[in-house]
């Protein structure tokens, strides 16, 4: 089935596009390093979204042209960014006061595993390597909503949406919505609740690549995303 899934599944850009549609006008948002950062590109027109980065910038914009970088103006991924009007700089304690104090409307992070109780594992595979946590453990317990963008399964085809995480946890019961390459799934009362799925995959096939029961409450919708 892995090859089949590969044929229909959304690209990272498409997952990011879908996640971007849910971000309200005026929201304060932190996007995790890497894949989640793509979401900013797909911000729907007419919405003001203010992006926060752990290293002390609120209101940053896209990357500058190559050669135009100022390396004192970077994001948490250490990539050069630019400023939008009305930006602000602040130190790390104030930056994490914003995070931990519940001032961010949304954090969108990547994941190794998400459990049906909302537990997230995204900082360590638990196998060797240098441990490195960054701001992930703060973000999951700070932002008002914590969403995940991820492939629905691992490269080996194993579920990333699971009953209980087997990898080291980043946070307990923190994720409320998951945008995957196949579906949009909410976490409610300790269960995965299907909200949207690709038209090209049957519910049973989706359930087969999901590590815990996918509940259905009323209807679910088609996950419709443009070619990108």
């Amino acid at each position: 089935m892995s090859a089949q899934l590969d044929a229909i599944k959304l690209s990272n850009a498409q997952i990011a596009w879908r996640a971007a549609q849910d971000i309200e006008d005026g929201a304060y948002v932190n996007l995790g390093i890497g894949f989640p950062e793509m979401i900013a590109k797909f911000q729907p027109e007419g919405r003001d979204v203010i992006y926060h980065t752990e290293n002390g910038v609120l209101g940053f914009g896209a990357a500058p042209a190559e050669g135009e970088e100022d390396w004192d103006l970077i994001n948490a991924g250490k990539k050069a960014v630019t400023l939008k009007p009305s930006a602000a700089f602040f130190h790390h304690a104030d930056s994490f006061a914003m995070v931990r104090g519940g001032h961010l409307d949304l954090a969108v992070l990547g994941a190794y595993q998400v459990a049906e109780n909302g537990d997230l594992a995204n900082w360590s595979t638990g196998k060797g390597g240098v441990p490195a946590v960054g701001g992930a453990m703060d973000l999951v317990h700070g932002a008002r909503r914590v969403a995940v963008v991820t492939d629905h399964v691992t490269r080996k085809g194993e579920p990333k949406l699971v009953q209980r995480c087997s990898m080291p946890l980043t946070g307990l019961a923190c994720v409320t919505r998951i945008y995957t390459s196949l579906a949009v799934v909410d976490i409610e009362n300790g269960h995965f609740v299907l909200r949207e799925k690709l038209l090209q995959i049957s519910f049973d096939d989706l359930q087969a690549v999901t590590g815990a029961e996918l509940k259905v409450e009323g209807d679910f919708a088609d996950l419709a995303v443009p070619e990108l």
Binding site: I50, L58, P85, S86, A88, F89, A97, G101, H103, L104
Partner: protein, 235 residues
């Protein structure tokens, strides 16, 4: 996005009976007099107010207390040159008082804004203000556990504000204002001038807009100290 609010009356319209309201200022400096007076006009009662002091004279916080709108005051220093309004109500048993050391008050408010539910401080250890609070020893010294302080609303005074709520302050008028901005569900700032987005140097922003929900321009704000020297009374 534009957080501008047209009038002090509109700014305080959501503050209902029983709300907890942080009010910035230290004495008269940084006291959002016009917002407080709008709150007097609006008339919600049974408020819990957090401020360093208990007001002066018959304007600002003192006026709010005088109108009987404040059921409980959390502050560090309710004495002043003219604290009559508060003192009379206090001895009549009509207002409740929680005394908090000034640095602990500031830190509790910051903790509320920063998502820190409790912290330890050496301040007040062994005194009657620590009674009933957990204590702990770290590295051979004793400390008192203090809890965060949050509010439903913060009314603060700043100097410049932009439509996204970025703020600067004038001289020592910052005091509790930037902290209270962080610790309330809804923070309303009165500013001397609303400037266009992008006019405040990002390096000079003191309170980033994420902490601010509404900005109302009061172009020539009254200074509480000046009002009191003029013998002003509100309403």
């Amino acid at each position: 996005m534009d957080k501008t609010i047209v009038s002090p009356a509109a700014a305080v319209a959501d503050i209902g009976d029983g709300a907890t309201v942080m009010i910035g200022g230290f004495g008269g400096s940084g006291a959002p007099v016009e917002l407080i007076h709008a709150l007097v006009d609006a008339g919600p009662r049974n408020l819990t107010v957090v401020n360093n002091n208990a007001g002066n004279g018959h304007v600002g916080l003192a006026a709010l207390i005088e109108q009987g709108q404040v059921a409980r005051l959390i502050c560090s220093f309710p004495r002043s040159t003219d604290p009559k309004v508060f003192t009379d109500l206090y001895f009549a048993g009509k207002i409740e008082l929680e005394i908090v050391p000034q640095g602990t008050l500031a830190e509790r408010i910051r903790a509320g804004g920063a998502g820190i539910p409790a912290f330890y401080t050496p301040t007040s250890y062994g005194t009657e203000l620590a009674e009933g609070k957990p204590v702990a020893e770290f590295d051979g010294r004793h400390y008192v556990q203090e809890r965060w302080l949050k509010a439903d609303f913060a009314l603060i005074k700043a100097e410049l504000g932009d439509p996204l709520g970025n703020l600067t302050y004038r001289m020592a008028a910052l005091n509790f204002n930037p902290l209270m901005a962080m610790a309330a569900e809804k923070t309303i700032a009165q500013v001397s001038r609303i400037v266009p987005a992008g006019s405040i140097d990002p390096e000079h922003v003191v309170t980033p807009g994420i902490f601010v929900d509404g900005v109302v321009e009061i172009s020539e704000p009254k200074q509480e100290e000046v009002l009191n020297r003029e013998g002003a009374v509100y309403p």
